[in-house]
Symmetry: C2
Subunit: 397 residues, 2 copies
């Protein structure tokens, strides 16, 4: 197994390469941007694809931050002694070979590869075809970093074609060599991976995140959290999509909260109770409760009580992130016990659903599946474990 | 979420039901045994299928032992504070709905359901068709236990048909409702599950387990461990299938170790070096190194050194359990770092690869996959987690 020092040197060397090769990377990105423009990609997609000096610097700094994290490997996660004298340790080891399938965000190439190098895994990267040239230039920096640290260049591989059939091959025919696939992207990508995968998947579904204003919510805090959860960035999976308000507090809370949201540029789609308190609101349809807008739109519903709020989230949520705003810790405890999502918050914005904000340094994404890892997937979540048992000649009776 | 007390009462009540309904269970088992006899099942299969008073008592005692384990749910697995004041806890929760597909061992019905009840999961049991009547009688005891504890009877369900198509349905069409499938059985079952599953699988492959006699092994300990690892029970996945011996210690160790094995009734299949030291040995073929005999047969090979032993295990092993016999802790450390198996032991029998022997109370099996759980799968391994974040109005800048 590689040493933590060697893996960290590889990350520092790759970071330095990103900085010194910035002109090459920008040239490669210019090719991607020109082709994407010709294909008529949306402004939002072009923005995700675009690299500039500051974005390259952010990738380089990101790799250094990952290098600075504690080594996730070799940790003794648990240790105990058996009555027969056997000493048992559970020790963290790499997962093995990880396939990462993502869309056209060149920075994911650096972030995902960095986390895999940190955690001693080999990674096969398959980014969106629109970012192929950019990703290849970034990949070259990571390979150079591995070589400078004396680690095998093959630890970070990139699928050398934009052919869509390669994704199917990675998901099925390579099952013998790939230990886990992590898809990072929109619904269509996730659906394809779930349909075709013959390998284990650490799933990342959509984020239909809720902010629930309990009757014991502070009005000013409710408005601040609602605006931040929805509007800080509307396109991330931790952005709130639905606001629920207790009936008993609707008159006290709704006008202020919805006015603040409206003033921040948010469209409100409410049920008929909401429209009564806030006539500017459009009427919500049944579809709104299950929609991940990823835009400046919020569905708003009045619920009878906390049980109805929990029921709504159970029916329409995606198991990602939900927030309760309340000064009643008992109500928060009930919410925490009964809502089955990866991340539950009391009195804090859903936009904290992020590996960096959790103190993990970086993340590949927010897992919404239930096995292996749930919530932010950082270097520690990219590990497995083995048992190391030390005896003195014990045999089993 | 159910309380730990309610789940433990359900287990105690189910245990009492097993004891009080023993006559019904034996009658049901008699039907299975008669049908199996008519179909000409092997003596080994009939023995697995057969229940008697002592086997029913063992199931009842097993459920009580599971009730006595610490509650795996609600554990705060990690807790930390962020600079912005957010307090983050990682809290254990049930996995959800678990499908367990197993062969005709009626006791697995009680063990697997017991572990799932303990860990707050709902379980769908699908046992082998030969044990259908026995499993149904045992299942009725578990359902009665749940009802007496005021828990939903549907927490433990049994596929109500022996139709093989039901397995395919459970593995694919029910993907929306089943969170994970745990197959427990032989190669054909595992292969079918891996081919058809559209749900996550906690895999249990075969156990091609190795005992490696390092040159610093004690001769008496080497013989005791080799005999126990191979012969204590030959049909379990933790039984040794291959013995590796350092060339420099072959003359000192092999005659005594192989004589002890022969005297215990074991057939020896060796490479030509082994045959030289122990002329009774049959000549091993290439196929022997990759065979899980599950019988009183052992393949034996002389290796040049520890690196060659690690290489052999990497090539032919199944990632289950391996043992090094040595008094050189440095050599054991090298073996632990470089062999990639779920369980590695120094100076102890491979037959300790068992949840009960690890102190987990019971197990569903030994996972050989790399994601979620590896090694013995007990109640703790049947949990997921959620993050609970407590704030005081924090918004993300």
């Amino acid at each position: 197994m590689s040493s933590g020092d060697a893996r960290n040197s590889a990350l520092h060397a790759a970071s330095a390469e990103l900085r010194s090769r910035h002109a090459e990377i920008l040239d490669a990105n210019a090719i991607d941007m020109r082709e994407a423009g010709e294909r008529g990609l949306s402004a939002a997609m072009l923005d995700r694809l675009m690299l500039d000096e500051s974005r390259i610097e952010a990738m380089a700094a990101g790799l250094e931050a990952i290098a600075g994290l504690p080594d996730p490997l070799g940790r003794v996660m648990a240790e105990w002694q058996r009555p027969n004298g056997l000493n048992i340790q559970r020790v963290a080891v790499p997962l093995g070979v990880i396939g990462i399938i993502y869309e056209s965000r060149p920075n994911v190439t650096a972030d995902a590869a960095g986390l895999c190098v940190k955690s001693g895994n080999a990674v096969i990267l398959r980014g969106g075809s629109e970012s192929f040239h950019s990703s290849r230039a970034i990949h070259a920096c990571l390979v150079s970093g591995l070589e400078k640290a004396g680690l095998p260049a093959d630890c970070v591989q990139m699928v050398p074609t934009t052919d869509r059939a390669a994704v199917g091959y990675l998901l099925s025919s390579m099952a013998h060599w790939v230990d886990v696939v992590v898809p990072r992207g929109g619904k269509n990508l996730i659906r394809r991976v779930q349909e075709e995968a013959r390998v284990p998947v650490i799933g990342h579904l959509e984020g239909i995140c809720h902010v629930y204003l309990h009757e014991a919510a502070d009005a000013a805090m409710a408005a601040e959290i609602a605006v931040n959860a929805k509007m800080r960035r509307t396109g991330i999976c931790g952005a709130a999509e639905t606001l629920l308000v207790d009936r008993g507090a609707a008159a006290r809370l709704l006008p202020g909260v919805l006015t603040a949201l409206r003033n921040a540029g948010c469209e409100i789609r409410g049920d008929s109770d909401v429209v009564e308190f806030f006539p500017e609101a459009k009427q919500a349809s049944e579809d709104d409760w299950g929609t991940e807008y990823l835009d400046a739109i919020l569905s708003v519903r009045v619920v009878d009580d906390i049980d109805a709020a929990i029921q709504h989230i159970s029916e329409y949520g995606s198991g990602h992130t939900e927030c309760i705003v309340t000064n009643d810790d008992g109500a928060a405890g009930k919410f925490f016990r009964n809502v089955d999502s990866a991340i539950l918050l009391q009195n804090a914005s859903t936009q904290f659903a992020d590996g960096g904000e959790f103190g993990m340094g970086a993340e590949i994404g927010i897992a919404t599946g239930r096995i292996h890892a749930r919530g932010p997937v950082g270097a520690e979540q990219l590990t497995s474990y083995k048992y190391v048992v030390r005896g003195s000649g014990q045999t089993r009776p």
